[in-house]
């Protein structure tokens, strides 16, 4: 079975070399990878404190470049401002087997409080890996 990994990336764009071993293994085992950078407005803003598209583009390009250097070429896109909508679009088109989500510590509680993780599980029924980015 082709393993397709959908990565939702924010602050993780800075350094894949520092990813946890389990996450690296998940990336290594994927046959196809799609990276999206959904934006979460307001106090739970996920990519950074701003929602500037150019900044998001840079972050996305940085991670894609690192994945490519590591022999894991991937495609990527900036997602919709509504993270659930961004996931819906990506899942519909890419049909992943696994979702990988990087959250800053301060955002993890916010995502849970807003039910986004539950929403992803309920809507897509896919295995979901969540890990914390220390920034």
């Amino acid at each position: 079975m082709t393993e397709r990994l959908l990565i939702a990336v924010g602050e993780a764009a800075g350094g894949t070399d520092e990813l946890p071993a389990g996450v690296r293994a998940l990336i290594d085992s994927a046959d196809e990878i799609l990276v999206i950078a959904p934006r979460l407005p307001g106090r739970l803003d996920w990519i950074s404190s701003d929602t500037d598209r150019a900044t998001a583009d840079e972050r996305l390009a940085a991670l894609l470049g690192q994945l490519d250097e590591a022999g894991r070429p991937a495609s990527g896109r900036i997602g919709a401002d509504d993270p659930m909508l961004a996931f819906e679009d990506a899942v519909r088109e890419f049909r992943p087997n696994h979702l990988l989500i990087a959250l800053r510590a301060a955002d993890r509680a916010g995502w849970q409080e807003r039910g986004l993780l539950e929403g992803l599980l309920e809507r897509f029924g896919l295995a979901l890996t969540v890990f914390e980015i220390r920034v």
Partner: protein
């Protein structure tokens, strides 16, 4: 960034739900040759179950022993398939909250501790498992026990089922929700139909 062949330490939280089996199988697939599967078996007995434990009913103990062995069987098989490794069985329990402050609380606690030790000892004494086995007994909330088991062994990740641990809280069970909140390492949540 290649890490596919490296052995990993994976904590998998299991209870008696079918989704826990799915999570366990996912963990077994990912652990790699020589890796370690730490099976955190968490128990949250109901008041009725605690009453039976205090009464010393043997069938309660027997049922729990069968359950634990069944939960671990998949991990054993997977470890053999991957050429060794080690299985660490962590048995954790939390007394029913409504027993707190009752005259029988300490008695129930003692019964469950004794029960847990017996379970783990029975596992250690088995010689047909084909893998190296270690055991550990913890007390406390299930999520905290799972996270503690992972922290103690510097696990690479924690694998849990999305609707496990009995008391359902939406799609994400209450224990899974708490593990996601408390863990400082990657958490893999496996829906029942994802494997």
């Amino acid at each position: 960034m290649s890490s596919e062949s490296q052995p990993r330490r994976i904590v998998v939280g299991v209870d008696r739900s079918s989704v826990a089996r799915v999570a366990r199988e996912h963990a077994a697939r990912r652990v790699g040759a020589g890796g370690r599967v730490i099976v955190a078996h968490v128990v949250t007995p109901t008041s009725d179950a605690m009453s039976r434990a205090v009464s010393g009913l043997e069938e309660e103990r027997d049922a729990a022993a069968r359950e634990l062995v069944d939960r671990l069987a998949g991990a054993y098989a997977a470890q053999r398939a991957y050429g060794g490794g080690r299985v660490i069985a962590v048995h954790a329990f939390q007394p029913a909250p409504d027993w707190l402050g009752t005259p029988y609380y300490q008695r129930a606690l003692d019964a469950y501790q004794s029960h847990g030790r017996e379970l783990l000892r029975s596992l250690e004494e088995r010689n047909d498992l084909g893998v190296e086995l270690a055991t550990s007994l913890l007390e406390g909330p299930p999520a905290r026990a799972i996270v503690a088991a992972a922290d103690a062994r510097d696990a690479d990740e924690i694998v849990i089922g999305s609707r496990g641990f009995g008391r359902v809280r939406g799609v994400l069970g209450s224990v899974s929700h708490a593990v996601l909140h408390e863990a400082e390492r990657p958490v893999v949540v496996i829906p029942a139909d994802a494997v």
